[in-house]
């Protein structure tokens, strides 16, 4: 960047400092938030599509079939413990992220 700036500076002389630099900064000042906003909008649309289609494709039939993914605590039970059996495993099994 330094050498490029150096070349532009030499090529344009004082115009670089007086005109081009403030102009470039103004462009950057305006473009940066615009770019960020466009990014956010694209991101939002992609995530919405993923949510509606990707999650919906499982969630909608599940709802129709009455499948519950979480126990919402709407039923009284004798115990709310779940039995587990977490003990020492072999080292390789801890390499799994699941």
């Amino acid at each position: 960047m330094g050498s490029k700036g150096g070349f532009l500076q030499r090529f344009f002389g004082p115009i670089y400092r007086e005109v081009l630099t403030p102009f470039g900064q103004t462009i950057l000042f305006v473009m940066e938030p615009i770019g960020r906003t466009i990014g956010n909008i694209v991101n939002w649309i992609l995530l919405l599509a993923t949510y509606v289609i990707g999650i919906g494709i499982v969630a909608l039939p599940s709802k129709l079939l009455g499948k519950q993914y979480l126990d919402l605590g709407d039923k009284e039970k004798e115990t709310y413990y779940t039995a587990i059996d977490i003990r020492t495993k072999k080292l390789d099994e801890y390499k799994n992220q699941f």
Binding site: L47, D71, Q97
Partner: protein
């Protein structure tokens, strides 16, 4: 053998390193980045750990991570499948970070640390359990972990025996005592995952008038297990926590700027009653199942010091050890020590006796800093002179910034990065609030007492409480002598200190006792509200100069605030939640 433990991406990112089974360094990332409860990858904390060990990342034998990311992601997906299409806002907020970092942990670790081996993934509550049991003094103990949520578990029960940990029971998300507490924290206008301790501090001001209302939203079985009625909550699919039914039951939520009324104090008080009932219920069942006398605890709920102080009275357990970094930061230590002792089967050689595991600055480094910044200071010739002078300044009602040795591990200032002041002055709470802390008026300040004098001043149920994890009543006849650390209900969240644990800190209290006959000081964290505890000499100096701290005692150097420029910054303007 070097093992690094890492926890991050949820809250309280941290790293801890073991050398041949002994923890040689541990720190939270927030102390370096100055962002409270920083969730980012703890690169600064890792670099500190590696520096302390004198090695590079590629020389590590193992790296252990504090949870299994795909299991957690599965739970997240289940939440969205269950709540679709209502959960889009939380999906939109959470998903990018999962794609960019949370599902790419091994790559991030390799890239940022240079470590070439496989990363070991330890279940979240197992890491909590390991942090509670393996560094404890017990060969065999029952273990209880309770927090907001890990992968699926929110509460686990188990046993530690020698090198092994066996978890036998769990309570699964969305049923969570930690998240119930956080829901009320949000309802009372405080920040979730940050201000739960304020709700605990508020509770003694109220009366438990709403316990019956809480019973509507939580079911407690005879065996101590519990379930929330999720129709009162929305945290399983929204970014907020209490649902419309919860608000209908308890009334209008308090905004942060609203005054604190008796109604909210009563809600906090009722929550504390229910929390204790659940914790004691879980523990009584755990004892019934294990028949063990020893108990180890970890998880954010284990920072409920009011409940902790009652455990030995309300349950059959005889001995209790709680990991001082009981929140998620401690899981970095847990993951590392579990790898060494349990997965690799190496002998347990580490017993945690203090929490001074963070960065330290040498006398030369501190003096260089003072000189480089043209700070006016004086130097004590001996430790005795330093301790005597500090005690005299405290007795004269000055507020002292105390910066000595290695920074504390865990959320509490324990005499390395502390603000010390006179507990006997009835106005000191207000002075501290006005000069430094800018805290809510209802919040108490904590006492530190020399271990041999503790029983004379507090109704202690234990020999020592070095980590400020228990609240005990101040003895009735002493309450008038130390009014500034006696909470409205007559209690104090105390720390005991022995000469072996921290000779200088202990020495100041002893010197103060010689002057005043009182072996008790106010010890509060060296920070302002909303900032992490100070880490470096610069943080300490900056904190003093932005507040009304009168003197800073750094190693053997004394810096008087009035001798130095006062326009550095205005802490009050920046004090946040």
């Amino acid at each position: 053998m070097y093992i690094l433990g890492i926890s991050c991406y949820y809250h309280d990112s941290a790293a801890a390193i073991l050398k041949d089974g002994i923890i040689i360094a541990a720190a939270e990332e927030e102390r370096f980045t100055r962002k409270k409860h920083d969730t980012s990858f703890p690169l600064n904390a890792i670099n500190y750990c590696l520096k302390e060990a004198g090695i590079m990342g590629k020389q590590l034998d193992h790296i252990a991570f504090y949870e299994k990311p795909i299991l957690k992601f599965e739970r997240l997906m289940a939440q969205h499948f269950q709540a679709w299409p209502k959960s889009f806002p939380s999906f939109h907020k959470a998903m990018p970070s999962w794609m960019v970092e949370k599902l790419r942990v091994p790559k991030t670790i390799a890239k940022k640390t240079g470590y070439k081996g496989d990363v070991l993934f330890i279940e979240h509550h197992l890491a909590h359990a390991a942090s509670a049991f393996l560094p404890s003094p017990f060969e065999k103990a029952a273990i209880l972990t309770v927090d907001g949520v890990g992968e699926w578990s929110t509460t686990t029960l188990g046993v530690g025996d020698g090198n092994d940990i066996h978890l036998t029971k769990e309570i699964k998300f969305p049923h969570s005592l930690g998240l119930l507490y956080s829901t009320v924290t949000a309802f009372l206008g405080f920040t979730v995952n940050n201000s739960e301790y304020k709700v605990m501090g508020l509770a003694p001001y109220g009366k438990p008038k709403h316990v019956d209302k809480f019973r509507k939203l939580i079911r407690i079985a005879k065996d101590g297990s519990y379930a929330l009625d999720m129709s009162y909550f929305v945290y399983h699919y929204k970014m907020t926590m209490p649902g419309p039914k919860f608000i209908e039951l308890f009334g209008k939520p308090r905004k942060p700027s609203d005054p604190m009324t008796h109604h909210y104090e009563d809600i906090a008080s009722s929550l504390q009653v229910i929390t204790e009932e659940i914790i004691f219920g879980l523990l009584n069942y755990l004892h019934q199942e294990t028949k063990l006398d020893n108990l180890c605890m970890a998880g954010g709920v284990a920072l409920n010091t009011v409940a902790n102080g009652k455990i030995l009275d309300k349950t059959p357990f005889k001995k209790l050890w709680i990991q001082p970094a009981a929140s998620d930061a401690g899981t970095s230590l847990g993951a590392a020590i579990y790898t060494y002792n349990t997965i690799l089967g190496k002998k347990r050689v580490y017993k945690q006796t203090h929490a001074y595991l963070g960065p330290e600055y040498s006398t030369t480094e501190i003096e260089d800093y003072l000189k480089a910044n043209s700070i006016i200071y004086s130097t004590f010739k001996t430790d005795k002179e330093m301790m005597d002078t500090t005690a005299k300044l405290i007795a004269e009602d000055n507020v002292i910034g105390w910066f000595q040795g290695r920074m504390e591990w865990g959320p509490r200032a324990l005499g390395s990065r502390s603000i010390l002041s006179n507990a006997s002055n009835p106005d000191m709470k207000e002075i501290l609030n006005l000069k430094v802390k800018h805290r809510e008026k209802f919040r108490p300040f904590a006492p530190v007492v020399t271990v041999e004098d503790a029983n004379d001043w507090f109704e202690m149920k234990r020999d020592e409480v070095p980590y400020m994890l228990f609240i005990f009543p101040v003895r009735k006849e002493k309450r008038k002598i130390i009014p500034s650390v006696t909470h409205v209900d007559g209690s104090g969240r105390m720390q005991t200190i022995s000469k072996e644990q921290n000779p200088r800190y202990y020495g100041v209290i002893k010197a103060f006792e010689k002057i005043t006959k009182v072996p008790v000081l106010i010890n509060t964290s060296f920070n302002i509200r909303g900032e992490p505890i100070v880490c470096t000499p610069h943080d300490a100096y900056r904190c003093m100069m932005g507040t009304g701290i009168d003197y800073l005692v750094m190693d053997r150097f004394l810096i008087k605030r009035d001798d130095n420029p006062k326009d550095m910054w205005d802490s009050e303007a920046l004090a946040t939640d």
